[in-house]
Symmetry: none
Subunit: 187 residues, 4 copies
């Protein structure tokens, strides 16, 4: 019955957030600054997002909308290589800044941390697990292998490079990672 949410305002907020992230980084991002840049009332931001991290998360999802499902390539190696390459590429450049900021905020804000863990992170872990299970069903993975450990090794190495920034998220890295995981699958 009431006036509906303004899509224009929503877009303005997400756009302003992208600009501010690029210009000043996650640490300098404030609700006040987002509202100011977006030409939007602070209340409007608070009405729909509880924190800067949530705005960034939604913006990330918006940008990542292009990321699609994992088609079955017919072999574990092909499936896994594609998944790892896509995951690594998805956290490169600007996305790395966004992701590291979001992960940081999750450590500092209990509520947001819970949302990130049970939402985005769990979904990504689940997706990789499905790839590995498909391989096990095809007998390409030794049944004794603990798939969850493989998942942790893969996302761990990936996030560690994002957060510690000691080496690039190259395609070479993705393929080395894939090879290591495949080796572990086979015994």
């Amino acid at each position: 019955m009431a006036r509906p949410r303004s899509e224009k305002a929503r877009q303005a907020v997400l756009g302003a957030t992208k600009e501010l992230l690029d210009e000043q980084g996650f640490g300098a991002l404030t609700m006040e600054g987002i509202a100011r840049r977006a030409g939007v009332g602070k209340q409007t931001v608070y009405r729909w997002w509880p924190s800067t991290a949530e705005v960034v998360l939604e913006m990330g999802n918006e940008l990542a909308a292009a990321v699609v499902a994992d088609p079955d390539h017919g072999s574990l190696e092909a499936d896994l290589r594609a998944f790892v390459r896509r995951s690594v590429a998805g956290l490169r450049g600007r996305n790395a800044r966004i992701a590291s900021g979001v992960m940081a905020e999750a450590q500092l804000d209990e509520t947001f941390g819970e949302r990130l863990r049970t939402g985005f992170l769990a979904r990504r872990r689940e997706a990789l697990r499905r790839v590995l299970e498909r391989g096990r069903d095809r007998a390409e993975v030794d049944p004794d292998v603990d798939l969850d450990l493989l998942v942790d090794l893969m996302f761990g190495a990936l996030w560690y490079r994002v957060l510690a920034q000691h080496a690039p998220l190259s395609r070479r890295f993705a393929d080395q990672l894939t090879d290591a995981l495949l080796a572990l699958c086979r015994r």
Copy 2:
């Protein structure tokens, strides 16, 4: 000519920081709050530490002073198992909160991030690399294996559990991790 730094004030600051971390978490930690709780002038805190993260880092080093060097246990497996177990145990409980907060701050504060990366994180990586190099010298590690990838897999999985909190930092986890690394060393 100058009066020396007051050890009493230093201890008060570190103690207050520990209390506040336990009570309210890293996100609620402030320079103002530390000074208040420690019964110390704000200026005194700023004089010796540029940010809360640095205080926490020093406090962490203080607590971790017990952690000693890596003795040579005679075999790669023994060396590695000991290293991984110690590393995992060192990020359990309160230390996990401290570590995750420090890592978060590193993402938000450029300067501190650089210090953490080239300091603590690089030192830990270097320590693990030495263990692996010792193994290679003993011909326990295939010379074609990229040791840096192993280092990333190990610290990645460890930090990922700390940050994503989806599973405990158990001894079982440490040993699974060790086994996976050993398998990769041999081929």
Copy 3:
């Protein structure tokens, strides 16, 4: 052609205003709060009243509808005593809170101030002047006396007690005031 004003909404607004005034005082009265309490859209309030003070004023007029004209009691003293008593009684208790709030708002809001001055205040002054003129016509008031000064003395003392709240608006006060005015009338 058009739908007429809803009497139900009007009563809801005035009723809610009375409640809020009693509960929290004039200073806490807001258009938003009135609409909320009345279960009425904000627009409806704004459509019919430009400010909280106008709502209160209408509510006051509503409550004071019982106050009638000044009958001729036959003598200045009787007329004046009745007028002063009625005026004093009319600003006691809840009405004092309403009146003081309305007067306050008139100081802060130029437009409303003008309306109050040329409306309510001028009408009351005029009524008292008529009483005094009737007395002068009956030769009960010295023709040299400045009637406007008497009016100012009467309403001044009355409002001053309302606003400064240093003494009660008792019947005794009304009669003392009347006696003073009568004394000044006679020379």
Copy 4:
């Protein structure tokens, strides 16, 4: 032991308040605006004054510092005429705006109202009462006259003109008022 209050900041606040009052009136006066104009932190304003009305009150006292005691002129008439003239003159022009705003705020803010009543208003009433008592001691005032009523008549008429703004605060008004009070003193 701590840094002392900054006289410079205090003056900046009072000065900014004077400017804003002149430019935009009491109704548009805000703590935020005062701080901005004064080039001072909001906290600094809040630290020393709880509301805009208190700032204005202090500013008023500052400006009115020139107002001195009531010397004894030797006769009731001389004393009273001087007092009334000074009181009337003191609420003319800019001071009228200040005074009416302060009085308004006292109606809307319980706490400030109490402070104004027991402070400034009571002191002024007391001063006039002393003038009248001196007259009674000299047998220039009929001992049966209720001095408090005279005080109410005087300040009532004065404030009423300030608030209702229906007639000017002229010297003629002051003298008419004085004459009326003198007439009431003598019987």
